[in-house]
Subunit: 259 residues, 2 copies
């Protein structure tokens, strides 16, 4: 999962909880797969299993959308696909620009799942003049100078930032100024945006660090010796500035304060 979200916290939009919104795409994907196999109806139990969630949670999620099921039978697949698509706003076309056509930007441009569901790559934009005109995923790369006009001409409201961290905020500012109100940020930076602009962040480094945390914990649980090779390094690296014996989180690293 990508982490981080920058939403207005309270404004539960239209009564649908944020957590539910985040799961709707999951259900939609599972339903689409069923639809392609021409499965007419599905029970909450089956669908929940396919989406990897609890069936009670799924039913409650759907209850926010309305009463779309039939008791004793289940949910009509096609109908539900449409309802969720509509709720997510996928019945309309969303032009998207990708800024920063490096390795990642190119990968995103080539991503098939992009176009499949209402999203259309309106333009690829890069700051490097040498990139300009070169085709990537069948589209010619445009230069950053054209950013504003591209946004306006295509009515783009969703922008994807795949630039280096240093350029992200500047690109973000220009996108927002040009009218973009939703941003998907792949650059490892915290973006500052005005009220009313949604930012979602996808950060590989953060995901790995979270995994490392759990990995370390798992490793520490097997061998009940928390003081591994890292302890020595701890004493070497960490130099507690203030005096006074501090205790670690739970007695771990007991007073390793050299000074």
């Amino acid at each position: 999962m990508a982490t981080g979200r920058t939403h207005r916290p309270a404004t539960r939009s239209r009564g649908i909880p944020e957590a539910t919104v985040a799961r709707l795409p999951l259900y939609l994907r599972a339903l689409t797969a069923l639809s392609e196999r021409s499965v007419p109806t599905v029970s909450s139990e089956e669908l929940a299993a396919a989406a990897g969630v609890n069936s009670a949670k799924l039913r409650k999620d759907f209850s926010y959308l309305g009463s779309y099921g039939t008791r004793g039978v289940g949910y009509d697949v096609e109908y539900l696909v449409y309802q969720i698509s509509r709720e997510l706003g996928l019945t309309q076309d969303w032009p998207v620009v990708i800024v920063g056509i490096g390795n990642l930007g190119a990968a995103l441009a080539n991503y098939g799942g992009f176009a499949s569901r209402g999203f259309r790559v309106a333009a690829l934009i890069d700051a490097d003049p040498a990139m300009a005109g070169r085709p990537v995923a069948g589209l010619p790369v445009r230069h950053t100078d054209e950013l504003e006009s591209i946004i306006r001409d295509n009515g783009v409201s969703i922008g994807v930032i795949a630039t280096p961290a240093g350029a992200a905020q500047q690109v973000c500012d220009r996108l927002v100024a040009a009218g973009v109100t939703s941003i998907l940020n792949f650059a490892p930076t915290v973006l500052a945006v005005p009220e009313g602009v949604d930012v979602r962040k996808v950060d590989l480094s953060i995901e790995l660090q979270i995994l490392a945390f759990h990995e370390q914990r798992k490793a520490g649980e097997e061998t009940t010796a928390p003081s591994g090779a890292g302890a020595a390094a701890a004493a070497a690296v960490a130099a507690r500035p203030a005096a006074g014996g501090r205790k670690g989180p739970e007695g771990d690293v007991p007073a390793v304060m050299p000074a």
Copy 2:
């Protein structure tokens, strides 16, 4: 943010809440930036602003790690960098394999932030024999046949899946069987894993759909006419199977049931 997580729900590891763990990398990044500018200390207010969070939340987060601040002064940057690094398990080296060296896999392999923080790309693996041996990001691509031996020889416990959706579960199974216990999944699929294996999911498509939802809501709020061009399409596409007048989520699409 990448969405989705597959953790054991309850097991609050070592007393540090999951939500806090997810923010630690954010703090760490902000602190590292401060460290490079040789800033000695930072207050919770300043650091919170840099990390894009509430200062009260930051202080509570740090309180789970221990009492590492000095009242009236703030936090020692270097010391905090070390404490968080240690807590996240970044003081040790984590060998990582990337499976699926397409556009995305190559982008990940080239990602700089990878090596910077304790993570080392042990191998790039792809199923295409034509890829084998070709250097990507300075590493020769290895064939899938070698997956198990690579995992074992390098003691890899973290795997990154960047394959097409169809291959993801199979790759996942092999990774887990070979000893991987943490997986970062970029394929748009729900992965089934045994107990004790952590999966984090990064899904571009889902992120975009969530943005589209909010975008649609914003658009619908300006123009107070929810019944847009989509309504007609609704009647055309949706064919409610069961009879009986259903009402939409809040009166929207009122009884558009062609029967």
